[in-house]
Symmetry: C2
Subunit: 343 residues, 2 copies
DNA sequence: CTGAAAGCGCTTACAG
DNA sequence: CTGAAAGCGCTTACAG
């Protein structure tokens, strides 16, 4: 880009490179204000742009963080996570080098090597959904795991608090008077989140002295179709056994519950309350009525991970994985149970 | 990370650094195979990792491309674009430095400076939707514009072919026999895509000798609500003036058309065919029936931009903006018009 | 076939 | 208060 070097500035300002460096970096309080100003002015006039590569070589710090992620292409959540991490990096004058490994171990290995060569100051290993991952060979100590936990531990990690999220969802429904609450679970290779949310569901019922009805724990594909299937199954129950509220594993399934409900003439929230999970952008808020849901705290997790990677936030790598709260996003899909079933 | 240098390898292998460098980089055919192999083996044994920063300083090439983007957090399309660019970078042994400017000009200016300091070999300026952007001050020549066009030209740029996309959508409907086709347009500060798609719509009608009915050009918010409003408006027309097919500006609006249709007892595609735009992930394919739509070619545009940035694809910066085709994604929301209106 | 040496553009003890 | 000099870890003419 620029081809004016520090020595050019030095010559033009009639000082040494030492002084230019010290002045430009505010590194030495002894440089008099007047000299400093002159140097800064001359640098500006010449269009001097410091060469970060040269500085990095000398200081052994690149002000750069590597972010390794799987399949950012195919998930709508990736953006919030990247943006959160990005933001913290920027606030601290760091750049992020992003590598999308698309889940391929060989690409991952190459990327870890490339990022090492590049002398990144830190590394974040991100997954697009909460799971336990094998630690890739050659992963540097101090790497922070984002939205996943390293098999065997030993690294800082942050994941959503899916258990508490599950509790919040059910509590939200209980608070409005619901007692017959279904959990629409996933039957695809069940992610850890599904089990945690289910436990949250069960524990809230127990604490409220509600006997869980196994018929209200239904399974479906993690998609709108799964939600449609679920509500169909639920409505095949005798009327008094049907739920007055449904908590779905994710928003996509809630979308299916909505369309299934409309087809059956079930009104939301008058006849049926629905709480989703994810707060999927351009989806949850666009449903009619807008969906009450539990947000996956991607931006907050991204920020947390970057803070740890930068050393702004200190964390014991042997400590247990950090759980990020999943806030309740209240919209309009929850109301009191219909009167004929009123508690 | 690693602390073994090239000189350590040289010493251990009993050769000079020159030879190590030449051997490791396959840079000099004169190095005998045996020496090369020994050097490689020793390097491996010592766990030698070349310092890319030092190499960059020397060669003045960082094998790094800067990707400047606005609000990747809030758009579900960002991923596909990033992934496409990422992929090409990886295939060519380059790393991408991502900066999300969130649309703030000051952040943008800082980022351009930071990327310049970092001596990136190329720069991509990405927008999350097709628009004309002001060229930020200090943007290097050779920057490539992704999903936007630079005001005043002078740079390579790629955007979706929204005009042809609009034509394809309408053609898809015409092919099935529809003649009363509505275009659900956006009334929010109208993006260039909205006008282009509308022109495509108009031109196909003209070419098929169909008189455009102004009542079938309706406007709504760029959201599901906009789609719901649109179909409500359309169904307030007398029965014989209603459309048998709807082309919506985007998939979100198509979602609204679906839910509005269900409420009115309109079946898709039996009573009404629908074509969207975007191929929004986890949305278009999940609707019931799955939505036929025109895909925004984000991955292909991302690849194109990176190819140009890397110099793999040569392009005249004064040439007109490259138009990337938007493929038709055929699913199940299009059928023949209902018989009572059959053409 | 191989090595000594210069140099990329900075920062930073050290000396004055 | 300021500068000469070393050195970060490579690559690459150049010499032999």
């Amino acid at each position: 880009m620029s081809n004016v070097r520090m020595s050019d500035v030095a010559k033009a300002a009639g000082v040494s490179s030492t002084t230019v460096s010290l002045a430009l970096n505010n590194a030495d309080a002894r440089i008099p204000q007047s000299t400093r100003e002159r140097v800064v002015r001359v640098a500006q006039e010449l269009g001097y742009v410091p060469n970060a590569i040269a500085r990095s070589l000398r200081t052994r710090s690149t002000r750069t963080i590597g972010l390794l992620s799987d399949r950012i292409a195919t998930t709508p959540f990736a953006g919030r996570m990247l943006a959160g991490a990005q933001e913290v990096a920027r606030e601290n004058d760091h750049l992020v080098i992003l590598v999308d490994t698309d889940g391929h171990p060989e690409i991952e290995a190459d990327a870890i090597r490339a990022l090492g060569n590049q002398q990144v100051d830190g590394l974040i290993y991100a997954s697009m959904w909460n799971r336990v991952v094998d630690v890739p060979a050659g992963l540097p100590d101090g790497t922070v795991f984002l939205d996943c936990g390293p098999e065997g531990g030993g690294y800082a990690a942050v994941i959503p608090d899916d258990y508490e999220g599950g509790r919040s969802a059910v509590l939200e429904l209980i608070a409005r008077g619901h007692r017959r609450i279904a959990y629409v679970d996933t039957n695809e290779e069940r992610p850890v989140a599904a089990e945690l949310r289910y436990r949250g569901y069960l524990d809230v019922l127990a604490q409220e002295s509600i006997d869980p009805d196994p018929a209200l724990h239904v399974f479906g594909a993690t998609s709108a179709q799964g939600g449609r299937d679920a509500i169909a199954a639920l409505w095949r129950l005798e009327a008094h056994r049907r739920p007055t509220a449904i908590f779905t594993f994710n928003d996509r399934m809630a979308v299916g519950v909505y369309s299934g409900a409309i087809r059956q003439g079930i009104r939301i929230p008058e006849d049926l309350s629905v709480v989703g999970y994810d707060d999927q952008q351009l989806v949850a808020s666009e449903l009619d009525p807008p969906l009450t849901t539990i947000a996956l705290p991607h931006a907050a997790m991204g920020r947390w991970a970057m803070e740890v990677a930068l050393g702004i936030r200190v964390v014991d790598p042997e400590a247990t994985t950090h759980l990020m709260p999943c806030p309740v996003i209240r919209r309009a899909s929850v109301g009191p149970p219909p009167e004929y079933l009123g508690s």
